[in-house]
């Protein structure tokens, strides 16, 4: 074990650091963030460099605050197209030359939008540090946004949604579920757009988004791995010096109101052999102080193989290949959801069983034996999520995006160890939805499951082939509250 020094230099350059390693352990789950330096550049960019020398790779994660929050009204998918176009030509390179530069040296480079950020992530061999930085700076500072690349990406994205409807309906559940639950709140937007929203997006929308959203104080750059820290620090400072500090502030994000009552959205997929279902309501935010207790209870309820949900729907009944639950946590509360699927004929039975497990969680809670098991499990698995340089680049980027502080990682083990049965009971009461208040989405053969669906709440229907993720009449589950 070795003591690790954390540096959080506010302005000036920190002393060069030896490439050190990573983990210090004192008991399971006691993770310390590896030695790194954190600098704010004059134009507001936050730069984090974490040397780790296990393999000759450098991972980067550029996090730009905003993401789909910056999509113009009625046009979800703009941020996603902007992200996709960052690697379709930048600086001196057209789209093909850019791909060739990345892949020619065995690198990877992926830009994508999320609900609250655009991330550019990748890995390069250590010997290509200079090229990596050049490509990253070009993509963020000098994207070409060529009109023909815009048209191609937009058309392809529309076709990819159709392909997912053909072959992967369960992957779309969350998109339908969030649209149904959150309605017009930004968390209800399909981040990658829908067929109809993409069709309405113009090249100008992309240019406008870039002009409004890309600036220094929104950006965090994280590099982890076999870096040459001093030269990287100098090069980043130089490469990004020209960026303006601020253009616009991200819009304030209100907390979504939880749904009251039960609403069911049935998405008709004629001939589907199974019903894919999602059950949710508004859950918790990233900053929730009871994170450890929430994770332990969710582990027990639907977060691992022996969970209550999986035991009922898979192990004991054989109704499904699997059932899980989880919280999506943003800067404001995202959704808690249950997901599973079952043979069309068993739709009613499986839904009843899933809801029954939730009722039982509220009435019976968890036992101390269960709590100890979940504690050992989460503590035992946590180090596996922070093993590589890419893992650390992702984790540090998340801390910066949500302003979480190092406690989020270093305090997690101690917090897990201190969760009591009373803490577990408190989060069940507060954060796991009551069975009375649920948004339910079913993708399946409507003809055969409509009567089942009706039993679980007020029914709304749409076709899987409709070009949007919400029914044509824009009634969301949340909007129905005021009915």
């Amino acid at each position: 074990m070795r003591l690790l020094l954390k540096l959080a230099a506010a302005t000036s350059l920190a002393a060069p650091l030896a490439a050190g390693y990573s983990f210090a352990q004192s008991g399971p789950g006691a993770i310390q963030i590896p030695r790194h330096e954190r600098i704010e550049l004059p134009n507001g960019i936050t730069l984090v460099i974490m040397p780790r020398g296990e393999v000759p790779l450098i991972a980067f994660n550029a996090v730009l605050r905003g993401g789909a929050l910056g999509d113009p009204p009625g046009k979800p998918g703009v941020a996603s197209l902007v992200a996709g176009l960052l690697e379709k030509g930048a600086g001196e390179r057209d789209a093909f030359a850019f791909a060739e530069a990345v892949e020619g040296v065995g690198g990877s480079f992926n830009a994508f939008a999320g609900a609250e950020s655009i991330n550019v992530v990748g890995q390069f061999l250590a010997r290509d540090q200079d090229l990596m930085l050049e490509l990253l700076a070009d993509a963020l500072l000098r994207p070409r946004f060529a009109p023909e690349e815009f048209e191609k990406l937009r058309a392809r994205q529309i076709e990819l949604i159709k392909a997912a409807k053909d072959s992967d309906p369960s992957e779309l559940l969350g998109t339908y579920g969030r649209a149904f639950l959150f309605g017009d709140h930004p968390y209800g937007r399909p981040v990658s757009g829908s067929e109809s929203s993409l069709a309405a997006i113009t090249h100008q929308d992309v240019l406008d988004y870039y002009r409004a959203q890309f600036s220094g104080e929104r950006l965090t750059l994280v590099f982890a791995g076999a870096v040459d820290a001093p030269s990287l620090r100098r090069a980043v400072t130089r490469a990004f010096a020209s960026w303006p500090k601020a253009r616009s502030k991200p819009d304030a994000l209100p907390a979504p109101a939880p749904l009251r009552g039960r609403r069911v959205l049935l998405v008709d997929s004629p001939g589907s052999s199974q019903t894919y279902f999602w059950i949710g309501n508004v859950g918790v935010a990233k900053h929730d102080p009871a994170r450890a207790a929430l994770d332990l209870v969710n582990t027990l309820y639907g977060g691992r193989f022996t969970s209550i949900l999986n035991t009922e729907l898979r192990v004991k009944s054989g109704l499904s290949y699997g059932a899980r639950s989880g919280f999506t946590r943003g800067s404001v509360p995202g959704e808690f959801s249950i997901r599973s699927f079952t043979q069309t004929e068993n739709t009613g039975k499986a839904l009843e069983l899933a809801i029954e497990t939730l009722r039982r969680l509220h009435t019976e809670g968890v036992s101390s034996e269960m709590l100890e098991s979940a504690r050992a499990y989460v503590l035992g698995q946590y180090p596996l999520t922070l093993e590589t340089a890419a893992d650390w680049a992702a984790a540090i980027g998340e801390l910066e995006l949500y302003g979480l502080g190092t406690e989020y990682i270093e305090g997690y083990g101690p917090a897990l160890r201190s969760v009591t049965l009373a803490d577990a009971r408190a989060v069940i009461d507060r954060a796991f939805p009551s069975v009375e208040n649920l948004a339910i989405v079913l993708i399946g053969d409507a003809e055969r499951i409509r009567e089942d669906a009706r039993r679980f709440g007020t029914l709304v229907e749409m076709e899987l082939l409709e070009p949007a993720f919400r029914p044509a009449s824009p009634r969301s589950a949340a909007a129905a509250r005021s009915d």
């Binding site: 983990f23 352990q25 399971p28 296990e54 393999v55 000759p56 790779l57 789209a95 093909f96 791909a99 990345v102 892949e103 020619g104 040296v105 065995g106 690198g107 990877s108 890995q123 390069f124 061999l125 010997r127 191609k152 058309a155 392809r156 076709e159 159709k162 392909a163 053909d166 072959s167 992967d168 309906p169 004629p270 001939g271 052999s273 199974q274 691992r304 193989f305 022996t306 192990v315 004991k316 009944s317 054989g318 290949y321 699997g322 699927f341 079952t342 043979q343 098991s373 050992a376 499990y377 503590l379 035992g380 698995q381 180090p383 596996l384 093993e387 590589t388 340089a389 890419a390 082939l465």
Partner: protein, 456 residues
């Protein structure tokens, strides 16, 4: 497969090559192996970056060991390995492992069944106890067999029946082989899923689940000697069995292109090619693997660039070479935009593949494939999971884990001439099966057609 997302095991490109001098792969001196008196081999790679251990137990049985009537049994058996022993009730395996911080999974392929555990080092002895118990004492509870049958059916519906890619590739694979058991879908035909019996499972257990038919690999935070001591304590008492019979059937030479057309509710048509290709231990393996990378890996790859970016004939292009014990398939998968004419796409694709067999590939293409392969290799070596997986793949499919450390040199040595030669061997129209999935609505009602011809 128990929980993870893709049914078919992908043995990705493993090798290494680089423009600058091939880096040496560290660790060879740290890896140790032990063969127990009963023939079971244990391979260990200590790595103390995190206080955890990854374990892969490779059992040499897959769907290639099946026959009509019991297709899917290797995979179903994988599920049953979690469902109780004479010492422990169904569910205890998972309950005990999770309570000590461990997680597990398993997957089945055409060739192997692999059991995986990831756990904190404090659970090491428990894991040996649990893993050896199910090799020595597996028990079958009839009600659990019935309930697990439902689970596997649900898995099949997810991956095949409600998935156009899954439906088409199942049909193509079944058409590509007329004799060899590689024709069987690993998940099993529905009628066989319905019909397996307790006796089938018992026979399968006796035949294939023996210490001398498995190889266990561990990577992570341990001393090799403590692992070897546990292996002796828990596994050595399990008696050796007669080795299972070899798969005798060899696929006869394919004499002409075969074609499968599937009609399904769909917006986006699909086109798949499956060429007959070498087995994993073929000397052409590094070249075949690099050829696949040149064709489909990344936006700069030959087929992505041509079909997705330049001609806009496809929205996705990918590929997979099944590197197994026996000669398998070299797949290309295309997803086409709505309203496409697959015949036209096929003619463009064929012209490009023929160009490669005529002219070969460029030096830059080969170098890109080598560098991508190198980077992928390092990414896998960055985790204890990747180390355990790679060691096992080299030991099981290439005969010796030490070859992992020679992989960089092997890939570095591949020349453009070798790529050209292997492209000519593999990309032969007479030895391929073409699958097309067309939207149901847009055509006259027509039965599924399977035609084989000795054309071209």
């Amino acid at each position: 497969m128990r929980r993870i997302a893709s049914l078919f095991l992908t043995f990705g490109a493993l090798g290494v090559a680089t423009a600058s001098p091939a880096p040496t792969v560290p660790g060879r001196e740290a890896v140790r192996s032990l063969t127990l008196a009963n023939g079971m081999k244990v391979i260990v790679w200590p790595d103390r970056d995190i206080p955890n251990i990854a374990l892969y137990n490779w059992v040499r049985v897959g769907s290639r060991n099946e026959a009509p009537g019991i297709t899917g049994l290797a995979h179903f058996f994988e599920h049953m390995m979690f469902n109780g022993t004479t010492r422990r009730a169904p569910g205890e395996f998972d309950r005990l492992m999770e309570a000590q911080g461990g997680a597990n999974n398993a997957f089945t392929s055409d060739d192997v069944t692999v059991y995986q555990d990831w756990f904190p080092r404090s659970a090491l002895e428990l894991v040996f106890d649990l893993e050896s118990d199910r090799i020595a004492n597996l028990a079958f509870v009839p009600e659990v067999i019935e309930s697990e049958r439902g689970v596997v059916f649900s898995e099949r519906r997810l991956r095949v029946d409600d998935n156009n890619h899954g439906i088409l590739s199942e049909q193509v694979q079944a058409t590509a082989f007329v004799a060899h058991p590689y024709q069987f879908p690993t998940i099993g035909w529905p009628s066989d899923i319905q019909s397996w019996t307790l006796e089938d499972l018992q026979r399968f257990y006796r035949t294939y689940y023996a210490p001398n038919n498995q190889t266990m690999v561990l990577a992570g935070d341990f001393e090799p000697e403590e692992v070897f001591a546990l292996a002796r304590k828990y596994f050595e008492p399990i008696p050796r069995q007669a080795p299972p019979e070899e798969v005798r059937t060899r696929e006869p030479e394919q004499l002409g292109e075969r074609r499968v057309v599937v009609r399904r509710p769909a917006q986006t048509p699909l086109l798949q090619y499956a060429y007959k290709a070498p087995a994993a231990n073929d000397p052409r393996a590094p070249a075949a693997s690099l050829l696949m990378s040149i064709l489909v890996e990344g936006d700069a790859s030959r087929l992505h660039r041509l079909l997705v970016e330049e001609r806009k004939l496809a929205i996705e292009v990918s590929g997979y070479w099944h590197e197994g014990f026996d000669p398998g398939l070299f797949w290309l998968y295309l997803t086409l935009p709505e309203g496409s004419d697959p015949e036209h796409v096929q003619s463009v694709l064929d012209a490009e593949l023929e160009r490669i067999t005529r002219e070969g590939v460029t030096a830059a293409e080969l170098q890109r494939a080598k560098n991508l392969t190198l980077a992928s290799f390092w990414k896998q070596l960055a985790t204890i999971d990747g180390k355990a997986r790679l060691l096992g793949e080299f030991e099981v499919f290439h005969g010796d884990w030490r070859k992992l450390f020679d992989a960089p040199a092997q890939y570095e040595a591949v020349t453009r001439d070798e790529i050209l030669a292997v492209a000519r061997d593999i990309l032969d129209r007479r030895r391929r099966t073409v699958g097309v999935l067309l939207p149901q609505e847009e055509v006259e009602v027509e039965a599924e057609e399977v035609t084989a011809c000795a054309c071209s």
